[in-house]
Symmetry: D2
Subunit: 354 residues, 4 copies
């Protein structure tokens, strides 16, 4: 089931960029949780087009209509159906590229796979699909909050400029959703320069889940980091993920990379967190920490070489409402997928407890 | 199902490091494929302890007994059951650490999760589990070979030393399973130095799948890169994965990162492969390329701080048969998981073709 | 995932009887199929309240809004999201029974399981949920029609009166959706008598799938009849299912029950169909035939003994818009679940073909 | 995954009648349960060929080797791998029918589906596969016993003779595994008469699960009765299943079929059990009761018409070691599938509890 993620807590989503609506079903959501609609709206707002001054000018309200599974403001344990109407469908924007494969997009691969594609704004492969993820993530966060777990992410590199000397004091403010630090201005400038050039920049997002108890995740193929990797890499623009010391650990020695342990007031503590909070696929009680690489927005005004669906060489300049960088808006999506994955792992853990 | 991976072609595995046997079931393997036992044995040999001069001295023969699903040397479409007997079970080696959590291992997390653990050699969380993956990968490669697809991996960084100026001419030779290049000696020395110090090193493995047709993978959560990420990160020692330009793409501009297209003899070609062969989660006909970070072997002779399961501080020095680096042996495992994932995606694609 | 059925072609549904809307997602529907909206509407109409003169007076239009997955009238291979608005929500009808467990309903079990329940019209456990099934079934029928497969069902027993001496010449007409036969009047009278008495009757529905090729279904737990059994018994009112000779075969001898074979114009034919078209869980090319037992409508005006959620004895008389028999309306639901299951099996078969 | 059943507690099985071994993996089995090997052996013995005087003369010891997941006699939460060696492989018995489709068997459908089949004793479609089910069922019973749940089944009709005036006082004795009653002799005679005639008889098995708490099962497609129907119909010889009043309820009025409720010592009690312990797909605290129809053994000495795989008409008389009835041996299999399904539902329930 390509459009479903999760095992016990699942999101099944549907919807194209310029169709009537996006939406989906969150199944396995426990009964008895208060559904805070303001919180959901605030989460949706962080992902919404136009949420950053860098963002696309497309202004979708992204208001979610919950259709089932909630009674008197409380979850009932039934599947939560929801839709998000597309209110700003300017298909004409896209008619010029209907027969052309935009570089960096899924236009070519969808055509090769399905023979048919909805060309309006990228159809299903559009980033607009992530609105459903943020909704499911908001529900997951409400569930996790009951257990003292919080999930935050921030942009720690943008356009080659790394955030430096920062503290982890989320939530991080728009427009960059980056930790407060001296590099913020340079990061902003990198994005604005790209925008001015009709180009775009990528970035790196760090995510931390705090308060996660030891014992989430499963052996072998059910490892928590494997599930997180799938969830995060399933976000269109993500090209890599690393946990804890990640790629850096490949250059470390074992004695340096292993996280030693000590007891403190009768509790186990780790002397470092190179593992990123996960050992053998199971959470160890430390913060879960990972970083994801977000590629530069593929839609750029700058002219690029491509081909038509009639197999003719051509050049393309993608105009319209595009972000010079997706990274700031991806912050909420990465938090959402992380929250969903951890909430799912919590249900799995409970199932097997005696 | 924690111990199962795949959708249409699945591996369900079982077994602990020092139990009677490892094994599993490969389900969904198509009927009519010739099962080349010599090929399977050669794949197993690459992963086997002692396959590199750097490796553990534990000598498991790792011979696979196929119990079903093959008749007269041909697959029948029925589930393929298999076992790999553990012939070298020196449990006494591990008795000294039964009540102690080895840093970098899953000892602590398994204990926290299950209340009980098989302490012999790491039990289920031991790397020995990957033998089953290599078997399933060998079957997958036999299936992919019928379609002209091959999967190869090689160590491209070891102990901080990068392979340089190499060509991709697999298969790569033991003991390092790295591309032939001028840095080989330095890579070897890095591992040997660590061994001499009672320590270990990590590395980076690059994997390429060649001959993959466009159209494998699915939208949203069924993306081919998401499936690969889960498959690769589910390997115990892997701490990160990146596709194509990966983390480097986060510092690139869109105009640089996008892979332009041209037609060549009536076929679509890409002018670069920063995408790593996957666009919008679906293969584009280019080589699929990714890199995985392998952490240094956690079992080291060097003394480390840890605690006992009675919550007392202690120090530990892990002796026994350990590799100073896991990376060379992980090459076959990464190939296996990649082959399994791609073969599964091929079956998925066929299902929906008219 | 409780609210999802199928493996490659799946329906995930949501919605309560008196919530804002029902709906769901059909995932895995192949690209390139013409979506005939008139056909879908006609299928919905057969299940709709008020479709039989025996039916509830509740008049839902049951019009389906397709939100995604269809472009220019053709399926795109993307998930098909849909909603069916509840237009006739007279919750006040149900207020009197909010704290009372209606006999034969899920009121008690939902309360025991979830601690909370949506009391309006049975909430999620209402038969209204089957509207989503009929929509998915209509899509499935469109897909099956391309392969010359049709699925029909009819009421062959109602209120103890068996349809006699009939031919299988579907589609069967309202209000009974039974094969044309001499017993029709008596069947109708049985239902009307029950209605007059404030009571209800059950019935038996026979279903046949014609044109199904040999080879659908899988070994062991993937048997086609097992999948059909799950699909049909998951319909709320169904209390039993039997294939081919079914329970009668338990009284037969092997020589009588086995379907002998002969060749006819070079093709294999069976001399009988006691197997109901399935051998070893795989279709044999014969018609697939089964019968399902539908219990009498539990909502009756007649007074019954029950208890309150405060654990007090009471009596209840369920008034409102109820059918004296569900069987005629269940015909379309049984066809839908059968079509969905067979279409799913077709995709599975294709996946493994070389 | 055709050869896997269950959601949180799963059995994945493999093996052909005359291959090297059958076996599989039980995944999701909770940690900390004492694995009583004597109990497992006694369960295996009830299904074993030769367990009844009516049975086949093939004498398999059916001893199970547990390969993982158990340490010091206690389950560890890891997957439990197991094999059952085939010790009595007289393939020569079957050579005469290698190119002939035995009526009532899967020979024809497997050939049509896979193009290839293992002809030795029916290969994968042989009833021998059920040995793995009984093993998984035995583990499930050990788990259920901790919660005061027991599952029993008995033959209540054989060869057309119904067990009469019996009490439900399991376990029921061999050779018939039927409740003690006055009809036992006539049931036995019906089977012996068929055996003498080179023929076979079918039967009906009733199964009851006692001590099941209210709240097991899920809405919509996750109904407990739907899961049981799939599990039971997946047993090769089963042609039908009915819950509670089952097909009889189709002839009842609602006022008669509904189970009224009363309180007794502050607890809810039902005044009857026509629902078979399940309402809206969720257990109601009553005994879960169903009946399954078992067809007569298809392998009979009596000559039958059939065709060859070269599409020629022929006649066949199946000799060898066959039971005149499968029903008594199916009793243990039906119990096993029921126990597995209920244990799985218990884990699901726990997952969602707060």
């Amino acid at each position: 089931m390509p459009n479903t993620i999760g095992r016990l807590l699942t999101l099944t989503s549907f919807g194209e960029s310029h169709g009537a609506a996006l939406g989906g079903v969150v199944d396995g959501y426990p009964a008895g949780i208060r559904i805070d609609k303001d919180f959901i709206a605030s989460e949706m707002a962080r992902r919404r087009p136009g949420s950053t001054s860098l963002g696309t000018k497309r202004s979708e309200s992204d208001s979610v209509e919950i259709l089932s599974g909630v009674y008197n403001g409380i979850s009932t344990g039934m599947p939560i159906g929801f839709i998000i109407r597309n209110t700003s469908q300017r298909s004409s924007d896209y008619s010029s590229i209907e027969h052309c494969f935009r570089p960096g997009h899924a236009d070519y691969t969808y055509t090769m796979k399905y023979g048919i594609r909805d060309p309006r704004g990228g159809g299903r492969s559009s980033g607009r699909e992530t609105a459903c993820r943020v909704f499911a993530g908001a529900l997951s966060k409400l569930m996790l909050a009951e257990h003292g777990i919080r999930v935050d992410a921030g942009v720690t590199m943008l356009g080659g400029i790394e955030a430096a000397d920062y503290e982890w004091d989320p939530p991080f403010p728009p427009p960059l959703y980056a930790p407060r630090c001296s590099a913020l201005e340079a990061m902003m400038k990198a994005a604005e320069d790209a925008m001015r050039d009709g180009d775009s920049v990528g970035g790196i997002i760090e995510c931390r889940a705090q308060g996660v108890p030891a014992g989430l995740g499963d052996p072998a193929f059910g490892k928590l980091d494997a599930a997180l990797a799938a969830a995060i890499v399933s976000i269109g623009a993500v090209k890599g993920i690393e946990f804890g010391a990640g790629f850096r650990s490949a250059s470390m020695r074992g004695s340096e990379n292993n996280d030693g342990m000590r007891t403190e007031n009768g509790r186990a503590v780790f002397l470092s967190n190179n593992a990123g909070g996960i050992l053998g696929g199971i959470s160890n009680g430390n913060d879960i920490v990972f970083r994801a690489a977000v590629k530069p927005t593929p839609s750029i005004a700058k002219e690029q070489m491509t081909i038509t669906d009639g197999m003719e060489d051509t050049r393309i300049s993608v105009h319209g409402r595009h972000d010079p960088t997706i990274a700031p808006r991806a912050v909420s999506v990465i938090e959402a997928m992380t929250a969903l994955t951890i909430a799912d792992a919590m249900l799995m853990k409970r199932a097997y407890e005696r």
